[in-house]
């Protein structure tokens, strides 16, 4: 089922175009990462999906209905980029309030406080919370009542590594239960293994929308190969492979995806001389730079 369908959507403020012709679909149970520089149009796109900002042209369907409709809002969970709650309320009061707004029993709010690790602090005032704890309240309200579509804007900012790990566990459980997840983040390394698809926005345009393997193939970025040899033979191996000596016994070289097997064959032909081979495909960070920066320069 298509939880979110974005069809040729534009948004302009006067002459300024912040979103230009974006097409994107998110299926139930799918986790999609939305990447882009500050000002690339991610937040504007999310606000249009939420119905907070009118769409200039094109259409967005949330579970088949228009953004901002009661049904759409009942089925969406949203975590804003920087969220602050009223300091005079306790975490439990704030979360139970959100539960009532969604017609969910307050018990589920209490269970969620345990799930995000806030059960001990639940009855303290939010003004005494750390940034990470506030972010957890934000996450808890976003996943309240198992939404059909979760929109998470910079969800892990302010979280420590352990909390980030727990956060992605919650996202995984949510997706496994059938929620479509669209999350934007700058923390690229943590997205690599934790999302099903990656969409990259640059200057309001969607410049990439595929899974990591496809992105790598399309980008044709060189693969990094690091060869470790016995000290005596490093120079000869480096010369024959056409790589550069990194230190006493390491050689670094790059090749394209389709040359990889041939290069590996060449390396293994050296036999005993080779002690180790390391092959690293282009990281998401390199891909991100390739798609967002290079596209920007091409325009």
């Amino acid at each position: 089922m298509t939880a979110l369908m974005i069809d040729n959507v534009y948004k302009h403020y006067g002459a300024l175009k912040t979103v230009c012709g974006v097409n994107l679909k998110v299926q139930a149970g799918e986790r999609v990462a939305l990447l882009g520089h500050n000002g690339a149009g991610k937040t504007t796109l999310i606000r249009m999906i939420l119905g907070l900002t009118p769409i200039s042209s094109g259409s967005i369907k949330v579970l088949g209905t228009v953004p901002g409709s009661r049904l759409a809002r009942q089925s969406i969970g949203f975590l804003p980029e920087s969220v602050a709650f009223h300091g005079a309320l306790s975490g439990r009061e704030q979360l139970r309030h959100f539960a009532r707004l969604k017609s969910i029993t307050p018990r589920m709010a209490d269970d969620l406080l345990d799930r995000v690790g806030l059960s001990d602090a639940a009855d303290r005032k939010i003004r005494t919370y750390s940034k990470g704890m506030r972010q957890r309240i934000g996450l808890a309200q976003a996943v309240l009542g198992k939404p059909k579509l979760a929109l998470l804007d910079e969800p892990t900012s302010g979280l420590d590594p352990i909390s980030r790990h727990e956060f992605y566990d919650i996202v995984r459980d949510l997706a496994n239960a059938g929620t479509a997840v669209l999350l934007s983040s700058h923390a690229l390394t943590e997205l690599e293994t934790r999302t099903d698809r990656i969409a990259i926005m640059s200057k309001g345009k969607l410049v990439a929308n595929a899974n990591l393997e496809q992105l790598r193939q399309n980008a044709r970025l060189p693969i990094n190969v690091k060869v470790t040899t016995t000290p005596d033979h490093a120079d000869r191996v480096a010369h024959e492979l056409g790589g550069t000596r990194v230190n006493g016994q390491s050689i670094s070289l790059t090749c394209l995806q389709n040359e990889k097997v041939a290069v590996l064959g060449q390396i293994t032909a050296f036999g005993e001389v080779i002690k180790d081979v390391d092959v690293t495909p282009s990281s998401l960070e390199q891909l991100y730079r390739h798609y967002s920066v290079d596209n920007q320069e091409g325009m």
Binding site: T53, I76, H86, A88, H97, L101, S103
Partner: protein, 272 residues
């Protein structure tokens, strides 16, 4: 349902922010002092002691109730817009008008509680001093409901400002200016015009309507007992006669409706 959910949360916030305590202490303290002190010099007069108390309290309420109303409301939308919870709330199945009405009901309840405590205290103190016989409680009841209407009008003004500026700091400054204009400068201006006009056509035709157009003045006129005007109040009571009770009531009741309606238009226009 969402309206009451929002009201319930607002009431918790008002209690924690000490707004409830502040309003009740202000109203209680001032009414107690006025009831006790007001009775001292006129103790032997034939005027009902409760009438004296309500007249004194009316004079005070004209200043105090708009102030409490504005203080309760100026942060309502601006604060949420600044924190980002307004956008978040609007992603829930709740409409903007529900948010506005929910907050309004909660703040009105706080006002009603504070006014009720103040006037209840006035009634108790009067009974304690003079005994329950021969006291007419009608002016007190009238004072309660008109105070509430006056407070509602200024709650609406507070929300309107809050929606329009969307910054707590700016909103607090603007509501204080509005308060000064409505309860102090407006009357001073009218007084100046009266003096300049020297009993001419302005005094007889336009002035009564300008006076009653200000909800604070309409409130003052309604609660100043006509029979006691010569004894207690200044000359404005006579001017009130022209617009009549109907005019005063209309002004007092229509202001909350107008300001809340404008606040609703303003909150609808906020693009997040």
């Amino acid at each position: 349902m969402s309206v009451f959910t929002i009201s319930a949360l607002e009431l918790i916030i008002a209690r924690r922010n000490m707004w409830v305590a502040t309003s009740v202490i202000l109203m209680g303290l001032f009414t107690a002092v006025l009831t006790l002190a007001g009775g001292a010099p006129t103790g032997t007069l034939s005027v009902d002691p409760l009438t004296i108390a309500t007249t004194s309290i009316t004079t005070l309420s004209v200043y105090l109730i708009p102030l409490i109303g504005l203080l309760l409301s100026f942060d309502a939308i601006a604060g949420e817009a600044e924190r980002g919870t307004l956008a978040l709330n609007l992603t829930y199945p709740v409409s903007r008008i529900e948010i506005l009405i929910g907050k309004f009901l909660a703040h009105l309840a706080v006002l009603a509680f504070a006014i009720g405590v103040g006037l209840g205290l006035a009634a108790l103190l009067t009974i304690w001093q003079y005994g329950p016989a021969d006291l007419s409680f009608t002016p007190l009841v009238k004072l309660f409901f008109t105070s509430l209407a006056l407070g509602a009008a200024f709650l609406g003004i507070g929300y309107l400002v809050s929606c329009l500026v969307r910054q707590t700091g700016a909103a607090s400054g603007i509501v204080i200016i509005i308060w000064l204009v409505c309860v102090v400068l407006y009357d001073l201006g009218l007084l100046g015009a009266l003096v300049a006009d020297d009993g001419g056509s302005f005094t007889k035709t336009i002035f009564p309507w300008l006076l009653v157009a200000n909800p604070a003045d309409a409130f003052r006129l309604i609660n100043t007992p006509v029979a006691s005007v010569s004894v207690l109040a200044s000359g404005i009571g006579a001017a009130g006669g022209a617009s009549g009770l109907a005019g005063q009531l209309t002004s007092l009741l229509i202001w909350p409706v107008i300001t809340l309606f404008l606040a609703w238009l303003a909150i609808r226009r906020i693009e997040l």
